[in-house]
Symmetry: D2
């Protein structure tokens, strides 16, 4: 039973159906009818005018946005454990042509107005030091925590005060929304977010992610950068159709709720071992090496996450039986 | 009836079936069983050991390869009408971090040992001028012509003599193979090709292309560059499965043969108007503006290609009826 | 006797004196008193407010400016024989992070409103083709011709009409001004030039060039880019002092006049062999191989410039005797 | 009295003399006789074959070297307070096209075999994380400490073991050599250093620094990269002549000894306030804000270096009188 990551789960059947339904000739690139509906669909979803671009990876969505928000000679403030720093092979440096990531500490991979201010205050305002241009956060975070609306509003305020753009890695924005009960606008544009990656692949998609611009005047530049990075697929309709299927009848939210509920089930089996409160669909547990081996011996797969910690990720298709076995195995460790 | 491009055609049903069949949990990225079979499948196909990487666009396949073959401070020799120059939004400059394209003339978008030598001879061997590092060709060319094995061998020889790497844009390699009756090895590695994009999307694929390395020692670098460019999809199995389905029972060749045959049918309806001999699946015709309008008035869609010329591209799913109508319309122009 | 290039000539004695006079402790980088006077000195010279940055090469001055005028994903229109294309080792690609040079034809290395328009009109306005962002010219040109005020005004008008920034490579702006009798403002900002390199090294300087911004709002970005490219010297006063010495009492113009006069002397010795009219300080002559050898045999050094052509460049320190010998040798060829 | 930095000091008279002596026509760029002597002069100095390239800044020397030692998609391990991280405006990211700096802790800006190993061990060996390619150290360090031969040998050994190239920022290598009594070879190539910047400007030079390659096979690439970055001055002889003057009769070492001796004098005036032992020419002192103001009130200039610390830097031309006044002022604080 694999609990490595939600990015290994299968695609939801409705996503496959949507792909099949799009299997006819249409205009290439993003001129097809599905792609043309994206801006409207996301504008409706967010309750404000946005521009939406399909891409195939979160890395592309994040880094195209960062390249438009930060010139090559400036820096992006982010958490030291953020995905863009740790797991994207230096893609921000590639897409921005050399901009720097300035790494902030913070519990649970969260940054705060205070850590942002501290980092900025350490930078002399001269040409010798790289000046910050943007902040980037991940919600839900890399440790499964959720930034609440109030936290985001304060971060957005701080960014504005310091003249920084605001980027959101929303690989698990669905889990954050489902887990927090917040309003989607409050988690994004009302807090001042300029651009975000909107994750679908970890949430039942096949290979379509979305880059959403609240700062819509960046759209022309993003369109060119997407092409230039080899991310303008010629049959884009198969991506757009996936995304539209996910949005229809809130499938994306249902999937996230299922994943989150599965995580709660796992967490409740080992409440004393939790490294972080489980707010979305990731569970970090303290176990000994011997315990980790015992779990593996029962056919459970997961990542080690530093010494003495392991990570489970639940996904939209979590099977009751597998969850029961995992919960039993964890409970038996006590 | 759309004859804009083969990249607008639907995906072949077997490709969709393969995607559906891959719809279960597996290792993320390229650790899944389908992705793991690619190296072997392409090595068998080529009759030599290769390394194969799925990506989602020809631009990505081409430019990742070029970045590995040409350092930022050198140049790639290519035809002035090549796709990498004309239709990739400057992607070679992005992926290589600033390498230069040196543009060669040549009938039908072909370069020759002679034009390569002439271009090289114009470059002073000093630090002031950008020194060439590679040649890049497209087969079938942007005008639907096919480089034959002997031409390629001569080009490869010239590249070797001048110390240049050899890149092949194989967006329509299937049409070139089908249209020439050559041997696949002769069109590629036996001629000295180091790396190529192997096109599937224009040939019935959905969104999977392949980057094939004959210079296998570049594989580690390419793997990193692919990730860094946001082209390592987390559910790679849906790409690998498409490609394997295309290779199975030579579906890729059957599709190309169908597209080429359709092109012959169109060409034979207007033999006196052909700008180039029709060797693959593209037809360039001389028409007046008035004639072009007349064709459009009959519901035919195509691109203008410079003054007085129009381009039709046929695809694997060419419908007899549509072809008949197109042929009749062209014949009626005479 | 060396007539390879004006960039091999010695520095003017006043330049050395100025360096010696600046040899005391002062604020590092560009905080010293000499550097602080540059903006004012050039604003006075041009009769409009400018920002001036010392650098040590024309390549740096040109390419820092281009990087501020053209984003990585767009293009610069320039002549195919321009220095930035031919003699800067791909520096524009490096500084801009991959922007493209689009090469225009034109007699004597000049571009015109017409060739600019033609080049633009060939570019489809879509994301697949690289869109132009700027034009770049050299005055005096690489063939020693001078753009007149009226030509520049027309080019500036065309640039504006097409939404293009306007860059001037002024490696020999002094020779252009001296040779044309035009007004400096007419050759630059009144024609719409946004940024220029102002050459001193070819004109009697030691190792200081100047980047002049008429679009002063780019100053902060240029300051950072200069540092980031390793071009912010810690003892900048030795550069600023050179430049101020050149400006004092119009030394720069006197030097250029001397070089131009020397060129006229050479030209008048072989009027029937001139490839181009001699307007500044470069002379291109038609000679046979045998004649070229004969000249070399007399101890004259020069560059071959394509088949059957040779180039002489005169400089500020042209010695009467050397010029006489050159003139005699050329006259003797007739 | 300015003690901001040794990079603000005047140039040594012999350096000016050398510039004046080079003031005649010669081959442009680095074809002149002075430039041609550099390889030999540095090979003699180091007792091994090296290639030497003049440039005008330490940033250029460091970052050209780093670009040749680290591909765009890998990382350089360096101290978090290193000049390349803190004071070069992101130049490493620019020159390498996006490589990453991985920041190590360590007392006095030193890294050790242990911290290198720890950093490497935190990096998963996969395509998602940026793999290290090089280490970079500064000697003397940014806090005026000196890596001894044994420390360097151990670092070099560790680099080799981990497959990392070894870069040395030698902005104050002269002070390190003078202050340690070590052998120059032991501080550089015998320890495995591949490339270094050899500082002259902080040590009495005017505007010439040197990039020295022990890994001589990188020379061709460095030559091209230097040109491409706008760092190939056309009158290079004025740089080469400065460097040769500095090497003659060990002027560079005499200058460093004078600066170091001055630092000892300052240090001995406030032994209880030293943040670090004074080994080269930098003195870091603990002072209260009130004390700092008092010093400033006496006409002493220096940098604050974090809360409660100030930095003095002495230079080759330290005047006895100024030093006496500084020493007295410091002693009076006690």
């Amino acid at each position: 039973m694999r609990f490595f990551s939600d990015n290994a789960a299968p695609a939801h059947p409705k996503v496959l159906e949507a792909i099949a339904a799009a299997n006819r000739i249409d205009t290439a690139y993003d001129g097809d009818e599905w792609s043309q509906r994206l801006d409207g669909a996301f504008s409706d979803l967010f309750g404000t005018e946005v521009r939406a671009f399909w891409v195939t990876t979160g890395t592309a969505a994040n880094c195209l946005a960062l390249a438009a928000l930060c010139p090559p000679y400036r820096a992006i403030l982010c958490h030291k454990d953020s995905h863009i720093e740790v797991d994207e092979a230096g893609a921000p440096g590639f897409f921005t042509a050399g901009a720097k990531l300035i790494l902030l500490d913070g519990e649970g991979a969260k940054i705060t107005p205070k850590t942002v201010a501290q980092a900025c205050d350490l930078i002399r305002n001269d040409v010798h030091q790289v000046q910050p241009a943007a902040i980037s956060i991940t919600n839900a975070t890399e440790y499964g925590l959720i930034y609440r609306a109030a936290e985001l509003a304060a971060l957005g305020e701080r960014a504005k005060q310091r003249g920084l753009a605001f980027h959101l890695d929303g690989a698990r924005i669905a889990n954050a929304l489902a887990g927090s009960g917040e309003n989607l606008g409050d988690l994004t544009w009302r807090a001042g977010v300029d651009a975000m990656s909107f994750g679908f692949v970890k949430n039942g998609g096949l290979n379509a992610e979305c880059l959403v611009l609240f700062k819509t005047e960046l759209a022309d530049e993003i369109a060119v950068r997407r092409k230039r990075a080899g991310h303008l697929l010629s049959k884009g309709r198969y991506l757009a159709a996936q995304i539209l299927a996910m949005l229809e009848d809130d499938l994306w939210l249902d999937n996230a709720r299922a994943a989150n509920a599965a995580a709660q089930k796992v967490a409740s089996a080992a409440p004393n071992r939790l490294v972080y409160p489980v707010e979305a669909n990731e569970i970090f547990l303290r176990v000994s090496n011997e315990e980790a081996e015992r779990l593996r011996g029962q056919g459970l797969d997961f990542y080690e996450w530093g010494p003495g910690q392991i990570r489970f990720v639940t996904s939209w298709d979590a099977q009751s039986e597998a969850l029961d076995r995992l919960a039993s195995a964890l409970a038996a460790l006590e």
